[in-house]
């Protein structure tokens, strides 16, 4: 049984059990599994609370102590905490986050693996407007008014979303279709040309499979998106923190892409994938 067995217990992380949460997309679940299994290897009791929802929800649950550990993306987190911040480096990002982060929470070391939001167009659109992987978001300036854009409902209002695309790149799309956060709905919509451009995660394995084109983000609107564990202060032991740091040290974008492909294309169970990677990386 999972945490759902004690639904009303807000501070599930109290005591010796660590609750590892995740957002409701495959990579987040995978990362949570990696964190959790790494912690278990250190003899820490772990329960998972996967698949929760958007950051808006998970951040709340971190604050109230329902979950102890959450795989985060530093850029998105910062954008959520401080929409105006424009950090130039990973370190700046961390500093900016620390300034705004809830006092009960802290970030551990970031990994090299990045997974950003992006503006991605499908093959058809790329061909039509001659867009390549060297094109930038700014190249859409003239054609955006003819494009339907797909993204999660929250993308519509975030700065690292429609608002930023407008203010930073001056893009105004023909319409915005609320789908999911870079998930299968968005993938399908893009593939079927229901939308011509969409917010996909850069580690999305369907990008290569379906020949989507990710546009460059020269203004760094989507910021740095390093995978980085967010934890509740003092509720994770030293060994635990060390174990997660070790994971971050080994994890890079290429590894992440590979793991994502295993889960989403090869249909392997994320937990199995996580365990296998930890083993191959010598972390367990």
């Amino acid at each position: 049984g999972g945490t759902s067995d004690d639904p009303l217990k807000g501070g599930g992380a109290k005591g010796d059990t660590v609750v590892v949460g995740s957002n409701n997309f495959a990579e987040s679940i995978l990362l949570a599994d990696i964190y959790g299994e790494a912690l278990k290897a250190k003899g820490i009791k772990v329960t998972y609370k996967p698949n929760i929802g958007s950051r808006e929800t998970t951040y709340g649950l971190m604050k109230n102590g329902t979950i102890t550990v959450l795989p985060e993306y530093n850029g998105s987190l910062l954008a959520y905490l401080d929409a105006k911040a424009k950090p130039k480096t990973v370190e700046e990002t961390t500093t900016a986050i620390d300034a705004k982060l809830d006092s009960k929470l802290e970030l551990l070391k970031p990994s090299a693996a990045q997974n950003k939001d992006s503006v991605t167009v499908n093959a058809e659109t790329a061909k039509k407007y001659k867009l390549t992987s060297d094109s930038s978001i700014a190249d859409l300036k003239d054609v955006a008014k003819d494009l339907d854009f797909g993204g999660s409902p929250e993308f519509q209002t975030r700065h690292q979303g429609l608002a930023g695309l407008k203010s930073v790149y001056g893009l105004e799309f023909k319409s915005f279709k609320s789908l999911d956060a870079g998930g299968p709905l968005t993938q399908t919509a893009l593939k079927k040309n229901t939308v011509q451009a969409a917010d996909l995660f850069t580690t999305d394995p369907t990008i290569t499979r379906d020949k989507f084109v990710v546009l460059k983000d020269p203004e760094n609107l989507f910021g740095f998106q390093n995978v980085q564990p967010l934890v509740r202060k003092g509720e994770l032991s030293k060994e635990g923190a060390a174990a997660l740091d070790a994971v971050s040290a080994k994890l890079d974008t290429k590894a992440l892409l590979d793991l994502d492909a295993q889960v989403q294309l090869e249909k392997k169970d994320p937990l199995d994938v996580a365990k296998a990677w930890l083993k191959s990386a010598g972390l367990v």
Binding site: G1, S4, N51
Partner: protein
């Protein structure tokens, strides 16, 4: 084929349950609200029988509550009850009222004048009359209502997936998407439907066991008024 079957029953680890575990969870999340709804509906219905004028407004209120999408319910509730089963079950219990209240009211009202007069003349007090005469005779109507409420509830639990793995079999739908595994969707839809049909059949059985006094052939016609509202 066996590959498909294997995939079919291979439940992703993030759901933290086996297929049977999900079924158990699903049943609990679907049935507890109906039970709670029944407990709530009984006194409400009795009030409606007692005070006739109360019935139309009660019907109106339950209908409006029923019309509120579960998602909206979740959003309001989540601050109080968190991302838990309870958040899913409260709306389901509220929804069940729209079926159960009219079913009980009609069932209790369907007791014939003559039977009531006979009971009164024998010196039955109102309470005794309710529990020993009206309620037992209303059982078929109540179970007809319970059937609809339960089946709907089983189908509705799935929406709980939207608030983080609280949809039992419904969670398969989300996982099917994020892992690109459509067979999980089939699993969810088919299992839910079978579960509902099974529980429905069980309720029919319970009805048959509880009401040996009901003529089997002519039952249908007499049940019509109860079903009117049960179909709501």
């Amino acid at each position: 084929m066996s590959g498909f079957l294997h995939d079919f029953f291979d439940i992703p680890s993030d759901l933290q349950h086996s297929w049977l575990g999900l079924i158990g969870l699903h049943l609990r999340e679907a049935l507890l609200p109906v039970a709670a709804g029944l407990l709530l509906a009984l006194p409400i219905a009795q009030l409606c029988v007692r005070f006739r004028w109360l019935y139309p407004p009660v019907l109106g209120v339950t209908t409006v509550l029923y019309a509120i999408p579960s998602l909206a319910f979740f959003v309001v509730l989540i601050d109080y009850t968190g991302q838990t089963e309870l958040t899913v079950m409260i709306p389901l219990a509220v929804y069940s009222l729209v079926v159960l209240v009219p079913a009980i009211v009609d069932g209790v009202r369907s007791v014939s004048e003559e039977t009531l007069a006979a009971a009164t003349a024998m010196g039955f007090g109102p309470v005794r009359r309710y529990f020993q005469v009206q309620l037992p005779i209303a059982v078929p109507a109540i179970i007809a209502g319970l059937r609809v409420a339960t089946v709907s509830s089983i189908s509705l639990v799935s929406v709980g997936m939207l608030i983080g793995n609280q949809g039992a079999l419904g969670n398969l739908l989300h996982d099917a998407q994020i892992y690109n595994r459509p067979e999980l969707t089939w699993n969810s839809v088919i299992t839910t439907a079978l579960l509902a049909i099974l529980v429905d059949a069980l309720l029919v059985l319970v009805r048959v066991l509880l009401t040996p006094w009901m003529p089997s052939g002519t039952a249908r016609r007499k049940q019509a008024p109860a079903l009117e509202d049960a179909a709501r």
